[in-house]
Amino acid sequence: MTVQGNPGEKIYINCSNCKKKGYFIIPSYKPVSDSVSIEINGLTKIYKDVRAVDNVSFNVRNGEIFGFLGPNGAGKTTTIKALLGLIHVNSGTIQINGFDMRKDSIEVKEKIGYLPEKVSFYENLTPVQTLNFFCELKGVDKTVVPSLIKEVGLEDAMYRKVGTFSKGMVQLLGIAQAMIGNPSIFILDEPTVGLDARWVRYIRQKIKVLNEHGATVIFSSHILSEVETLCNRVAIINKGKLIAEDTVANLNKYLHIKPRIEISIDGLNGKVPKVLENIDGVEVADAKGDILFVTCDTQVRSHIIAALEEAGFKVVNIKTIEPSLEDAFVKLIEGDT
């Protein structure tokens, strides 16, 4: 069974499958590091009359996985491009590892692995030639190329022209490219777009592994579950403005989105017990079959269980479902419009 809850929370588990009972404590989030890897301050980019990025500031700490979220056209890619010096910004400062990206970008770029949202290579080159080129550009030994190609599963296409590749294959080559020279910072713009389930899993796993080896990873996504399971912290951008920067858990607290509890009760038969009406803090209660769904604050939960058992209900299992980032996202964007 899966257990979900807030960091540091103690949850009572009574597993119906293995018959185990006991308390489980959700590990609390610890800041990975206090040192800042990427520091963006007051970033503004105006395209004609549109403020694509409007006074955006946030920090990414050393060694963390940082999620950058927002709907399409929110300014994610523009921010990332500014980060790499691909576009000229109207105002603001960008520092990576203490270097000003507008001045000393060459030194920093040696340590960055980047996968753009729209990735493309040279159609008449083979994957080997392509990666050789990027190794040379980074001043890295080319002997890593065959193993990189093998890692992303392109060994059968090693001597084919990239021009004949499918979108997914180009994306995989893009990932191999980003890993050249063991970068300490990965900037991945929608890394799982266009890939099948197997490779999506591979990339998520890869991000974890790279991070465990000490790399800082910043990746943008519009897939919330991906960000939620991978990231230490997130920033949410909408219409060019940063609307939140926090841990996933804190973000939910800050938005006052309450968790939902699923309580399995023997012989409930789809009826909501009347005792719930007398408990303060119960917002929504619903029943389906033997499962009772209650939306409430975490601390109210014990009152509910106690009241239910007092009323003679046989509680078999309790499961807390934390609000997802998607809920937070919807709420934030609604509040922004």
Binding site: K81, L84, G85, L86, I87, H88, K103, D104, I106, E107, K109, E110, I112, Y114, P116, E117, K118, V119, S120, F121, Y122, E123, N124, L125, Q129, F133, F134, E136, L137, K138, G139, G174, Q177, I187
Partner: protein, 280 residues
């Protein structure tokens, strides 16, 4: 802050060469180039009246001043705009490389494709000439080859400039076509101006041509190139097809070379400015 990195430039050049030497349009045009040159040099070289080097070169001039600009424009017109649109340039510029290194690398790499193409064409032509005319005119022929390569670099510089300026590939196609047709119709335009401003067909037939008419070649690099070749081989007077035309003082060899260099450098500097300011 590190200085200009020639290694990065060389890496870009090598990639451009490897990618574009397999460009099917370039291969097709090079093949056409070889075919025309071999046929032409064979035809003029073996004939009794057209056997001299000058005529061979003047004959090849028309072909090369169309085909070489065309190859250069095909290679360069979307080298920046196309890559910015497809996303390839994002990746490259996220590497430790400066835009000036990318630009010069592209010029050198694409230029090498032109050099190979010209050498294949003129090389085979040269073999035919050597067999039919004899090797005495080789120095002139080699000078002609180098001028042709320089013409390629001028058009490359122009087309890279277009690709750095245009936001999208489709608009840079328009730019490339404009540059190509400018070279093709330039003489027609100048001739039209000549008649509109009171020039007569009789004067033209009698080779009484105002100096401005000739001097205006400075506005068209392919005409400038042709004049330079005439000047290099025929001196200040060209005698061809029954005409005897004297090239004005203004178009002295040194001035012609200066104008050719300007046509190469100005677009290149502009390309650098556009590229530097560009949001990728």
């Amino acid at each position: 802050m590190k200085k200009f990195n020639p290694r990065a430039m060389y890496t870009i050049a090598k990639k451009e060469f490897l990618d574009n030497i397999r460009n099917k349009w370039v291969i097709l045009l090079t093949f056409l180039f070889v075919l025309i040159i071999v046929l032409f040099s064979y035809a003029t070289g073996s004939g009794e009246t057209f056997g001299d080097m000058e005529t061979t070169v003047f004959g090849l001039l028309g072909i090369s001043s169309i085909l070489i600009p065309l190859i250069a424009i095909i290679l360069g017109f979307s080298t920046i705009s196309g890559e910015a649109e497809s996303g390839a340039l994002y990746v490259v510029l996220s590497y430790p490389v400066r835009r000036v290194e990318v630009l010069l690398g592209k010029l050198l790499g694409l230029g090498s494709v032109i050099i190979v193409s010209v050498f294949i064409g003129f090389g085979l032509g040269g073999v035919v000439i050597a067999l039919t005319v004899g090797p005495e005119s080789w120095v002139g022929y080699i000078a002609f080859i180098f001028l042709s390569i320089f013409l390629g670099f001028i058009y490359l510089s122009l087309s890279i400039c277009i690709s750095a300026f245009c936001k999208r590939r489709i608009t840079s196609i328009g730019g490339g076509l404009l540059v190509f047709f400018w070279s093709m119709i330039y003489e027609t335009i100048v001739t039209a101006i000549y008649f509109v401003t009171g020039g007569s067909i009789e004067d033209l037939m009698a080779s009484i041509i105002p100096d401005w008419f000739y001097n205006s070649v400075v506005f068209s690099p392919s005409d400038l190139f042709q004049t330079t070749v005439y000047r290099a081989f025929g001196g200040s007077t060209i005698e061809a097809m029954g005409f005897s035309v004297t090239i004005p003082e203004f178009l002295s060899p040194i001035n012609l070379i200066i104008f050719l260099i300007i046509w190469f450098l100005v677009p290149l500097v502009l390309a650098y400015i556009f590229f530097k300011k560009r949001d990728i």
